[in-house]
Subunit: 351 residues, 4 copies
């Protein structure tokens, strides 16, 4: 009953097979190998973006921080949701890579920003001239930290608002595939066609060992990105093993099938929770994450029975009055099975 995070899952056999295929003698280092080139072309095709540049790193924090630093000067302001991963879960990686740019945390129900909120925030921003950091970038997350999903219209409205102030848009797509299959749109629609300039395309949470692609739809910052990647220690000499993973993942839409499965498991779990008299689901499920409020004592019994998941927010604890409502975060993955879900629901029914 592993629902702590989709990054606690392993990887599908196809990905290991991809590694084995890549392990074919010598290959040029540092991304100058045929597989890295093939992956770039594959992603260009998948995203219908023939000019895009593609760079691989091994963590989402690196992808986000490098993408942001390549689009924001040290005196820039990055507008994001206050719950965004870049703001609360990366130990200041964006500030480190940008040399001290400022994240401007914005409110928004369900971890979603609205064009109106952004417009308001941009209203006075940077108007004090040299005394203030200058608006530089909008960073969105989809799926969001609350597991909700932006509609295409919402995404476009946010990007349009940013563009009115000449801000480029970064999308943290750690769960891009989960959002994509849930929304039923194309990769292009959910990225550059909506106005996204640079995408952190997450692979790790959706079945890779540790690969994230930064897709730059506007290649103007590509050289700067490469310098930052190298001096950030994120250019792997045997880059082919990263490319091989992602090639296997894109093959025959495996990435979409993995994400669809994770979403389906979350739906099954949601159905079960709906039927429980003490469970209250928060937020509209956008993909493979659920937030459910239960009496504290039930959480305690579930976890005693072996269910693994985080309470939410971080400050929530299992100690305290049994009746107090406490929220748990449940994440499904490509490797979650119906047995896992049903075991959890069974444990809940007896908890």
């Amino acid at each position: 009953m592993f629902f702590a995070s989709d990054n606690t899952s392993g990887v599908p056999q196809q990905v290991l097979d991809g590694l084995a295929r890549a392990n074919d003698g010598f290959a040029p280092g540092y991304g100058n190998d045929p597989m890295t080139l093939a992956l770039r072309d594959r992603i260009r095709a998948v995203f219908d973006a023939p000019q895009a540049e593609v760079f691989l790193v091994t963590t989402g924090s690196a992808a986000n921080a490098l993408a942001i630093a390549s689009h924001c000067p040290p005196w820039g302001a990055v507008f994001c949701h206050e719950l965004a991963h870049i703001n609360v879960d990366e130990c200041g990686a964006p500030e480190f890579f940008t040399n001290g740019a400022k994240l401007v945390p914005l409110h928004g129900a369900h971890a979603k920003l609205t064009a109106h909120t952004l417009e308001h925030a941009l209203g006075g921003a940077g108007k004090g001239g040299v005394h203030q950091v200058q608006p530089a970038l909008l960073s969105l997350t989809n799926l969001t930290e609350c597991g909700t999903r932006y509609t295409m219209a919402e995404l476009r409205a946010l990007c349009d608002t940013a563009k009115l102030r000449d801000l480029p848009v970064h999308l943290d797509g750690a769960r891009f595939a989960n959002a994509l299959v849930a929304e039923g749109c194309s990769p292009a629609e959910q990225s550059w066609q909506a106005g996204v300039d640079v995408l952190s395309l997450g692979g790790t949470k959706n079945g890779l060992l540790g690969v994230e692609a930064v897709v730059m739809f506007d290649p103007a910052q590509a050289w700067e990105f490469q310098m930052r990647r190298k001096r950030g220690g994120h250019l792997l000499s045997k880059n082919r093993y990263l490319a091989a993973q992602m090639l296997a993942w894109l093959q025959d839409d495996l990435w979409l099938r993995l994400a669809a499965h994770a979403n389906a498991m979350a739906a099954r779990l949601e159905d079960g929770l709906h039927k429980h008299p003490d469970a209250q689901l928060l937020f509209n499920r956008g993909g493979n994450m659920l937030f459910v409020t239960l009496p504290r004592a039930i959480h305690a019994r579930l976890q005693a029975a072996g269910a693994q998941y985080y309470l939410w927010p971080d400050s929530a604890v299992l100690d305290g009055p049994a009746d107090t409502p406490v929220t748990g975060r449940l994440v499904t993955s490509w490797s979650t099975t119906t047995e896992h879900v049903d075991a959890f629901l069974a444990a809940l029914s007896t908890a």
Copy 2:
């Protein structure tokens, strides 16, 4: 009618006389001169802090950023009010000097933090371990950005709360003297006795050409501070001219008299505004700053008549419906005269 800021004022003759006295032939550079030593001893006496180390810089941003960087690692969180100067008016200087630490902006009426707010913020902070910046420092401002003032009890409560989490406390005292004479306490009471570890003691807004002293009540970080000051380009070779200004300023309590005068002018202005039917004063005046709401048209006429002051917040504008209430910020200084105040009030009465 100059009420834009206390830093638009000049300097009293005694300060220029101090410079002339310092201009006496050769002297060792970089703070190794007798006047710098004398100033250190003078500040130790004034603050009743014989162990304190004292370092001079020429701007408040430098004082704040260097003080903060000497007490906060790059992965640290600095808790401050969302309106704090360090958060909104220094173009990211703290982030630059700390190499990307994170300012955590907290809410609080009248630009004041409460111990309760701080306690709540500290509750879950950094509990995610390596994923999150770690609580490192509390930074307070007194007078605040809204011109309000902390009572000794409020200061102590905040510092006590910080100390429970082993956080040192920085005080941005750009208007320390204004707060001091208004509160009627001693420099020690308003700083280290309340729990402040490092103070930015502002001189510029209270009559100096450009001198701020960083007073480290705990000298443990003194060497680090000096390295940071030097590599920040803030160690002046002819440091005696900074020390001379502040020595003249401390002589015969000049600094307190200057601040008391500024406060008295603000009080006179406040009295006049109280009598105006359309004027609404915001916040309790703590020293030499006032925030007054007037119909927009009155602001327009005042400024047309030569009154100089900023609208508040930065995004406020003079264009728009005449009746809309708009807030102006009025700051008095050591060089504001009763004639200046009365001229402003006369202009208001006819506006």
Copy 3:
């Protein structure tokens, strides 16, 4: 005929098998998994260092820069050889991670420092007080950039000299295993027993997909390292796949056998080159790297025949007079075969 770098090789089957073993359902993220713990214990045993802390990253630049930053303040000086990888091949990664510390490049024949050179450099270093960066760290490389090797006595003398100024010692061990088997000493002897405080233990060049371990023999900086690793984007969520590679590599001394094989192939190549009338070998071979001077035309013919290797230094070119002596760098790896070597020598004999 791939002699460009040992990082152009693939990985042995045992490493892929290790990945497959790790791919066993769910596991806690971010290094809180059993394999990461097992690897730490394994490295402690291998190095006879029960207190050591071990952290994994995916590149040598990350290992070096994070290790250095955890032992050097922004105003520190890092003494290293002028040819050191950290100085010439990491695009400023150490400067980035330290927030602007200064590498002090020292001369030394064959890319080796001597205790005397270090002593001389330390003589006046930092004596200007606050005006100068302060000696903070010695960083050595073994095997060196010229493929030479420090003897145990040389290592100890350098570390002893550093310790006289209270400097900790970092060892860039990208080719640690190659040096180890050539020197015939124990891991402990070649590291902490000689005076090394923190080691970048290279795996990638010796058969891993992309894993380097930072081994901190003094764990005092371990927490700081972890914060820096996270905010540098170098903490992998699925850390087990890094640990699994290195566990497989340490199993049954595989890492030593791989390195010994690479060294043996270099020895075979060296033997062949010795016999060639136009070839002049530079430096004493320390492990798996050779530098050979040949008439330019011979290089051109070798490369036309398919031999892959770099000219040295970077500025050397194939264009120019045919007779000019030009140096080539030849690196063997665990996957170099006698056929590869003999094919190269055959090509040389006809070139």
Copy 4:
């Protein structure tokens, strides 16, 4: 007998008078005052550079580091002489402000670079692509750290060489005026006409309390400079007091007369030293600095007699065999008198 540095001198009365004139009531802050504007126009006229932008700071380290950071990315290489102030006496300020760019220290007799040395250094620089910092800037110093002076032809040749690789040129002109009057050329000839793009125009060593102007002949980086200045804590609110000093200094060629006097005092000192049998002068005097080798015992007696100057290099000491030749650095200033010089020479004759 103060010959330690020209920054141990005071300031001429005209500069204090300038401050008094500036102390005329209220003025807009942060450089938006009439005196700052007047100074900009004055410098444009003096340098015959109507497009130049001019910004004031209070230290040479700030001027240099901000100028460099505005022309060099974090992954840039700054070519400079190994003895340059930016390389050895600013505690890493350039590395801090650039976020870790690399200074490339070049050799050169008498602290002067040659076009040939630069050309050679640029030859292979950055050719390793993403693995290496990229050539970004040439930084020269005139007068040099050895008190020598570039001829116009030498300056032009260096700038021309830099421009062939598209590198902009920074000139550290802490003693620009001393070089100017010695060379007998115009400010334009010694700066932009020779190829200098950005100049640190030193005032402090030549009679100001603490003012350096950054003169950007190409204003393209002016906005970036202002952001960096602010977040570096180097934008003074009462900027008029900096402008006033420099206006007084430029008035009636005071700055040139001060520098010419300092140079004349150095010439007088040089004449006296030439006549001493044990004194050996190093380097060709370019302005107001001398380096003289004397038996150690004579240094000891001179300093015992009250002569103040530094031994050179920093590691030189007064302890040791009496006969050993030791070098001293003697710097004259605008306030050095013939009596000071003659007293020194008298002390020398009896030492």
